[in-house]
Symmetry: C2
Amino acid sequence: MGRTEVVSRALSGDIRAVSRLISLIEDCVPGFEGLYSEIYPFTGKAHVIGITGPPGSGKSTLVDKMAAVCRERGKTVGIVAVDPTSPFTGGALLGDRLRMQRHALDDGVFIRSMGTRGQLGGISRATSGAVDVLDAAGYDYVIIETVGVGQSEVEIASIADTVVLVQVPGLGDDIQVIKAGVMEIGDLFAVNKKDRPGVERVVAEIRIALELSSVASRGGGGTSRIAGSAGHHGVSALGAAGSEREETVDEEAARPCWHPPILQTLAETGEGVGELFDACDEHMRYLAGTGELDDRRYRRARSETMQIASGRIWRGLTDDRGAFAAAEELAWKVARREIDPYSAGNELYEMIVK
Amino acid sequence: MGRTEVVSRALSGDIRAVSRLISLIEDCVPGFEGLYSEIYPFTGKAHVIGITGPPGSGKSTLVDKMAAVCRERGKTVGIVAVDPTSPFTGGALLGDRLRMQRHALDDGVFIRSMGTRGQLGGISRATSGAVDVLDAAGYDYVIIETVGVGQSEVEIASIADTVVLVQVPGLGDDIQVIKAGVMEIGDLFAVNKKDRPGVERVVAEIRIALELSSVASRGGGGTSRIAGSAGHHGVSALGAAGSEREETVDEEAARPCWHPPILQTLAETGEGVGELFDACDEHMRYLAGTGELDDRRYRRARSETMQIASGRIWRGLTDDRGAFAAAEELAWKVARREIDPYSAGNELYEMIVK
């Protein structure tokens, strides 16, 4: 079977083809699944690093400096900047253009920003596609940068091999320094803006939170981090409820454990960024050495497979004229309080399944 | 059929029963659907107001003052405080307890906080349940307070009759004052902390953004707001893609239009809060007078019905041992790059549907 030209060019590292291929997959143009199947066999080589943290923690600057470190070491890097709160995409953001300019003459750095573009729930699929294109195109590292605002960061973290949680001193009460539930997804912690007062307190808080979560999960410091991280890679907006079984716990109990390091950085000057990068590499060696890398990537694959199947079921429901008409009729009854939403939903379900 | 005791007591306004019923529905305890069907016929009377805005905009204080205004006017109010970024729930938050104390001796104010509790995607269902319980229990107003961080605010806004977007001067660059895509969900704008410098600029920015969105959608000031608001009430995490048809546009074109007012408030002192409340009442009169209220509630019902049906389909997929085993096998192939995720997802879909 002949390869599509845009795919051939993207695989050879042609930046414009890479960019175009990401757009085609992001927009789910007719035939995008075929393009995806062409690039997919070439994926799995890049180290995918997810960077997340609250607004104002300096993630963008940190990622820029990480890219610079990458280049100093002779490696290439693709950056996917995801803002789940923004409908803009495709490099339309001003900040993004400024960043582009800084690396404009360097083919070893590719930057792409993604917004929601109104597709609620679709951002993790689009991000996954962009990551796979960059991976297939031969970038050594792919960095996913996302603002830490709840569900989306957890979803996006599930795509990464290594998750860096960025914290920063002095963000005030309203933005919690460490949100429980998000803590567990961190493989590394970077306390940025380390010249600010309060940096030691943030480090201490992270340390305490790590110890607490270590004690809380399965009663021991040894295997708990692994068990904890085993959980997050199966999480998805749809699959969180039932898809994560306990099968991975026992086999992993005998492995060496990963203690998430806490690093201090000053992204503006680049201080500590080399060490952060070293720690990411160290984490990858740990993943590869213990077999955890295969497990993570398997869980990502399972989550995506189930999401895609579920998406097709949902599309079948909304595209099917008959099902949609039935949903409309039931909804009017619900709106008139003749039946409740659960009875209506169950009735619709019974109708579809038969 | 006899009514369950907790339902009877909640319907008579017993605060402990209301609280218990919300928990039972939130936790999806066995039989919760039956409880839901008992209370549902008594819903639809409350005016449901959604309040959303960025962290630090003073939403909680504003909502507290709105509750006070409510009580001065002899009305009762239920408050559902939703934090999609927090796993805490059920009044466990310190801030929430403090708020509870302030209204502790007043049966006319009920406050409840909801977190994600690890149920990604489940928060809008849980919020919807709490709103319906409070509505059935006879509260005149139900206020949903949620932090504005992307998808969740849009989902939660879809439950409300009236959506108030809270903005505030001087939040800095990283937190955008008005995010496109969220703009459209606002029926009213409250610029809080109006004693701060920059308040006029925020008001002007909102005005310009409103004019732009008015011009952008369907080329005219007249019907665009209605068309815009018609869209958001059908939005859900799952249903955004295909469920919103164009059927409501034509019939609404002839209606009088709603121009979202921009109010200035100082929640700390209560300044402007009475006017904000008046504007909410005015919006409800508009909704009721034009028939838009029925349309919004119909769209909420349709979205919920389809979500519930879809949830059952998904549960069927994850609970079915055979389907889960097939998903696992396919996922290993994906992880080994033998097939791509879309081929695997489609194969799983075909298997389930047959």
